[in-house]
């Protein structure tokens, strides 16, 4: 008997959108206790389909056809009052961003208790007691303290646990999890996935799990639906879809997953390093906000030293807060290091200033994580690409010619010159970001989570582009990432950072398969989909 049955669901987008339907011809069933994964890239309609089940579509987006049958009634025909009764009690939901998904001004306990209040259950003291048990159940350390805490006082993983506690409060039949681990570190992700799996077993709850990550799918799914531009292109049991994909799109997605098997051929470090970092330190002191209070001190980078050789790509990996991004920012002098030397082509740029710093700095360029906020929305691509060279004295016409060449190099048409950043997709914007970095003829590229915001197929293309450019232009690259799979795909060597310090350095294959430290091993163990990868390798 299916718990939820969707037939021919069509969801219309408002007029003027890039396509008429967010999703159409959606049909699937969910049985009690089952984990169904909906996989797809951004814009595939996977979230919209799930939101429709709760009657929580964004403004202007509405279902125009089909049925969603839950417990014998069609959700699409329910009144608002009936929907209110359904939400949180029979079906509940958790989201991607655990910080923004909680009200910043309300204590955690009150936010959980609200679920009972919304459905008129229990007395206030009972609600509080239940909130405490729920927090215990989802494995929050020190629930007594957490219940009194405000969301900003908890870590990302803890906030997601609070969200799960809230979603489980009334023991719903279905939990909809919309990319619940995408914003989390790999170790935290592994814990949250295990928690969802455990709760499913303990309570026989069905889960609709929306994700773009095939590794996660492989670890938890019973059945899988693959969506592309609003349509279901493939569905079946996890084994069928993952190991014997029928649709070319599914195959392409699976092929695009970066494999952990790193490159074996490490170029021997013959020549002098292009970049030498010696004893780099950076400590942040934030004001306490009050007149007399003690400042908060964070040692973001502690005694970091390494060499980067010509043509080499080094991956700096670690969890959030490990200091990996601060290292990159110190090297580009976006923040000033407290001490240590950064030697680029013979000169220590850590303590240069003024004209000398400007002259040296162009050799070291950054690519940022968010392709949406890292390009000036009011500047045409032509200005974005020529601003730097013109600032360094290049004649305007020469800079324009060079900009057109660069666009070709990153796989964009020269007509892009006259357009604004918002006219491009995320992957295209990241290509513009790469062209912008290359415009100054750098010898070193620092890529800070440069592909983390991209879909897996786009990610693969951008990684290929970066690898290709680094060979063609003999660039050296520092690749800062939290994703070990991405690091495996592109890096020659890997530096593992924890709490501001380097804990392990070595060739990619060595670090990923036979690490020396327990910390590196724990990062590796937490990567989802490893068994699946071995199965794929065996089959292939």
């Amino acid at each position: 008997m299916s718990l939820l049955s969707i037939r021919d669901l069509a969801i219309a987008l408002p007029k003027g959108a890039d396509r008429p339907y967010a999703a159409h011809d959606i049909s699937f069933d969910l049985t009690p206790g089952e984990i169904l994964c909906i996989v797809g890239e951004s814009g595939s309609g996977k979230s919209m389909s799930a939101n429709a089940v709760m009657g929580l579509l964004p403004q202007g987006v509405r279902p125009v056809g089909g049925t969603i049958t839950f417990d014998g009634q069609d959700v699409l025909r329910l009144s608002e009052k009936q929907l209110l009764d359904l939400r949180g009690r029979r079906i509940s939901m958790i989201f991607q961003e655990p910080l923004s998904a909680l009200n910043p001004l309300m204590r955690v306990g009150a936010q959980i208790a609200e679920v009972f209040e919304a459905h008129g259950r229990l007395t206030p003291p009972e609600r509080r007691a239940r909130a405490l048990t729920l927090l215990e159940e989802v494995g929050i350390p020190d629930p007594q303290a957490a219940i009194q805490a405000y969301p900003f006082q908890l870590s990302g993983g803890q906030r997601q646990r609070v969200m799960i506690a809230m979603a489980l409060a009334l023991e719903p039949d279905i939990l909809i999890a919309d990319e619940p681990t995408t914003a989390l570190d790999v170790t935290t992700q592994a814990q949250i996935l295990k928690l969802i799996e455990d709760l499913r077993q303990a309570r026989g709850m069905a889960v609709i799990f929306i994700t773009h990550d095939f590794g996660v799918v492989a670890d938890i799914a019973d059945r899988v639906i693959v969506m592309q531009t609003g349509e279901i292109v493939e569905s079946g049991t996890a084994d069928e879809v993952l190991l014997r994909p029928q649709h070319p799109y599914t195959r392409a997605l699976i092929d695009a997953i970066p494999r952990l098997t790193g490159q074996e051929d490490t170029p021997a470090a013959q020549s002098d390093p292009v970049l030498s970092v010696e004893g780099l330190n950076k400590t942040f002191r934030t004001g306490s906000g009050s007149f007399f209070g003690k400042p908060r001190v964070v040692k973001a980078v502690q005694d970091v030293s390494f060499d980067l050789f010509p043509g080499e790509t080094i991956g700096i990996v670690g969890e959030s807060g490990s200091g990996k991004s601060t290292v990159g920012r110190c090297l580009a002098r976006l923040v000033n290091p407290d001490s240590g030397r950064v030697i680029v082509e013979g000169a220590d740029i850590a303590h240069l200033s003024g004209a000398e710093l400007r002259a040296r700095r162009r050799r070291l360029q950054m690519i940022f994580q968010d392709p949406f906020s890292s390009l000036n929305p009011r500047a045409r691509v032509s200005r974005i690409l020529t601003e730097g060279p013109i600032a360094y004295g290049a004649p305007r016409t020469e800079a324009m010619t060079r900009a057109r060449e660069l666009l070709g190099m990153v796989g964009l048409d020269a007509s892009a010159m006259q357009r604004f950043p918002h006219e491009f997709s995320g992957g295209q914007r990241q290509r513009i970001g790469i062209a912008r970095a290359l415009a100054l003829d750098p010898s070193i590229i620092i890529a800070d989570e440069a592909v983390s915001a991209l879909d897996v197929s786009i990610q693969a293309q951008v990684l290929d582009l970066l690898a290709d450019l680094s060979t063609r232009l003999s660039l050296s690259m520092l690749f800062i990432t939290h994703d070990l799979r991405v690091a495996a795909r592109i890096c020659d060597r890997i530096i593992v950072m924890q709490k501001g310090a380097i804990v392990e350095t070595g060739p990619t294959a060595k670090v990923l398969h036979n690490p020396d430290t327990a910390y590196a091993q724990s990062l590796l163990d937490a990567i989802p989909g490893q068994e699946y990868e071995r199965a794929l390798a065996g089959a292939g």
Binding site: R87, G88, M93, N103, L105, F152, F291
Partner: protein, 323 residues
């Protein structure tokens, strides 16, 4: 929390001192000789008389001596002597301050409460005719000059309709006491307070509306909906509380402006407050009074800012607990 308030108080004292010095120097940089004005009024403007006047009021001393004398006095709330009104400035201000505080306080609370309510109402009906009506009305209040609104309100409600008294603080010669007196004052307060508050109400309405719409798009509102909470509860508990943060900031900043607006309103409605005192003092070049009013209004603005900071700290735990 106590530490925080203490810290702010210490800062406020320094700022107040800076205001005193700056105002003093500014007034003295302005052209015009108070002794000449006084002598002109007295009708005897010979050099001897002018010199006597200057000596009597310390105007012949070097500037820094005058400043020092002034600062010494100001610390003890001795703000000098008004030679026009023949009364100590501190007494003049003390007589007028309650009326102004009543007017600005009522106007402030009225504009904030009504502005927020109207903003919430408009945001809840975004795009409907109700939203358009509220927004248009707010734009009208915002765009109309204060003095014109004051004159028109006085003309319509007081002269034509004779509903409300058009000027003064209380009915002259009525000698009401107790509750009757309070009602009489309240009746006199309606027109000036509404007039003064309209402009600010329009600002708070626009701000509340924009802020509510922005917050209602945030993820935690979706979480609240997914819990099955009713729309009203979500509006109040989740959206409004978060949306009020920028409104509070703005209200704190605007509190000083309400004081400025009070000068006009008090003049039109003959409200016996500090604003009118100031208006008269400027016309009469009564420097001591002008400085005194500057000093007091500076202190009021600082006080409002301090209150804003405290309210902010109470409302937003992120500031309270990391502070």
């Amino acid at each position: 929390m106590t530490k925080f308030i203490l810290g702010r108080l210490v800062k406020a004292v320094f700022i107040l001192l800076a205001i005193l010095i700056f105002n003093f120097l500014l007034i003295h940089a302005a052209p015009g000789d108070p002794a000449a004005v006084m002598a002109g009024e007295a009708g005897a403007a010979d050099e001897k008389f002018l010199a006597d006047l200057r000596e009597r009021f310390g105007l012949d001393q070097p500037l820094y001596v005058q400043l020092w004398t002034y600062l010494k006095g100001a610390v003890q709330f001795d703000l000098g002597f008004s030679y026009r009104q023949q009364l100590p400035v501190s007494q003049l201000i003390a007589d007028r301050l309650p009326a102004t505080l009543l007017l600005t306080g009522v106007a402030f609370v009225l504009s904030l409460v009504l502005g927020v309510i109207a903003g919430v109402a408009a945001s809840a009906r975004q795009g409907s005719w109700g939203d358009t009506a509220i927004s248009t009305l707010a734009l009208l209040f915002y765009a109309t000059p204060l003095f014109w609104v004051a004159l028109m309100a006085s003309l319509v409600f007081s002269v034509w309709l004779e509903w409300l008294p058009g000027f003064g603080y209380a009915t002259i010669g009525a000698n009401y006491t107790g509750f009757a007196h309070a009602m009489d004052v309240a009746k006199h307060l309606v027109l000036p307070a509404t007039t003064l508050g309209l402009f600010f109400m329009a600002i708070y309405m626009r701000m509340t509306r924009a802020s509510m719409l922005e917050v209602s798009r945030l993820d935690f509102v979706k979480t609240a909906r997914a819990k099955g909470l009713k729309r009203g509860v979500i509006q109040r508990r989740h959206i409004l509380r978060n949306a009020l943060l920028p409104v509070i900031t703005l209200a704190g900043l605007q509190a000083g402006q309400i004081f400025g607006g009070a000068i006009l309103t008090e003049t039109v409605f003959a409200w016996p407050g500090i604003g009118r005192l100031m208006f008269e003092a400027i016309n009469q070049r009564d420097y001591a009074v002008i400085l005194g009013v500057f000093y007091i209004s500076g202190a009021m603005v600082l006080l409002f800012n301090l209150i804003t900071d405290v309210v902010y700290v109470i409302v937003d735990p992120r500031i309270r607990l990391t502070g």
